[in-house]
Symmetry: C2
Subunit: 228 residues, 2 copies
């Protein structure tokens, strides 16, 4: 079956990155189109009225299938391309992978990304001025609390949800990698997290993320270093 996949995404959007990692891991080639979502481009809003990335367009059938929002895309990929499975093989594994997936998309995104990425990235893209130091501090403190939890999990597990790589790892890595682009992850204090992130960084699916650059936003020096 010949699939024709086009992903509308923003390179530094954690939700978009999750989808790119999943597509890469499942070895599904796709065309990518980077969009400036904050300018509400017509092509994006027409496909997804929420105006948010990512959107995956699957051509090849009678009509193209338009998949909006990360979870809808991930669930569709899992249903149509089950190997390798990224959401676990039995109910307990799936429950754990989904719990952590939602942890990062709901709790981490709200408590950490909402501060750090808003201050360092969105304000820059939107021309809203310099980062607020109080907000940056709140985000960094929340990040440490989350890393303590992830460090505990990874001290007893190979991967975040257990014995197998899953979407939980990709969700965590997608969120952390954007924060790392701006140099705000205190890796050296969390050795198990750092080892896990090195393993992920070395996977072929991760390479395109390490090559991401956005005009006016330079990455931290160690960003694409596999041995950071």
């Amino acid at each position: 079956m010949s699939l024709d996949l086009t992903l509308l995404h923003f390179p530094l959007d954690p939700a978009s990155r999750q989808v790119r990692l999943a597509l890469g891991e499942k070895r599904l080639p796709f065309t990518e189109e980077a969009v400036r979502y904050w300018e509400r481009p017509a092509a994006l809003v027409k496909l997804n009225p929420s105006g948010l990335t990512p959107v995956l367009v699957v051509a090849g059938g009678r009509e193209p299938l338009v998949l909006c929002e990360s979870r809808a895309i991930l669930d569709h990929l899992e249903e149509t391309h089950p190997e390798p499975p990224l959401l676990g093989r039995d109910p307990a594994e799936r429950a754990e992978a989904r719990r952590l997936l939602q942890w990062f998309d709901r709790k981490f995104d709200y408590e950490v990304g909402g501060f750090l990425l808003h201050e360092k990235m969105e304000k820059r893209l939107l021309g809203l001025g310099a980062p607020d130091l109080g907000a940056m501090r709140a985000g960094r403190e929340a990040l440490r609390a989350h890393l303590v939890y992830v460090e505990t999990l990874l001290s007893g597990r190979d991967w975040l949800a257990g014995r197998r790589l899953s979407m939980a790892d990709f969700a965590a890595a997608a969120h952390l990698s954007v924060i790392d682009y701006f140099g705000d992850v205190p890796w050296r204090d969390f050795p198990a997290v750092k080892t896990w992130y090195m393993k992920l960084k070395s996977r072929p699916c991760f390479r395109p993320l390490l090559a991401d650059r956005w005009p006016g936003l330079a990455p931290a020096q160690h960003y694409d270093d596999l041995d950071f």
Copy 2:
């Protein structure tokens, strides 16, 4: 197969309400345990380290299966009790149901619930003082913008995602019903949304939600009225 389901939830939490509606629609009896999540009760945090509701405990197997976070629970229910299907029967239906499910959990929750429910409910529960009028206004304006979109969708469809009732309807109704508890939904300006909500309110799965009351928080007079 005899299942023993226990749901830890907060009656006015939209995520918890989605799960109660799905369990009701699939006719799965369950024991409910209301928790004061903002006090981080030990029983809740032990099951879900994020401290968030809902959590569903499935007993009956060798070990109980603990499902944390709404989407993990909904996906599990859909996999283990596929009838009636609440996420569509083909890829296009599923994509649309999931798009709208995430719309309400990501965009609506952030733009509307984050203001209205925080000001009117969370501040009350946490003893943080009176609602901020500017935040209430921002929430009400965002709510109107969302209702305009939902009105457009429902003018050409029986249900939110198309011809069949789905989790998209339950997600939308779960979020709107809590705002309606506090009397903030301008139903009369959105006739198609109102008709749709009347249909949902009349379903057996909705009855428990209409009976919800929380000490110190009285519902709007029309809250449990089927013909409001």
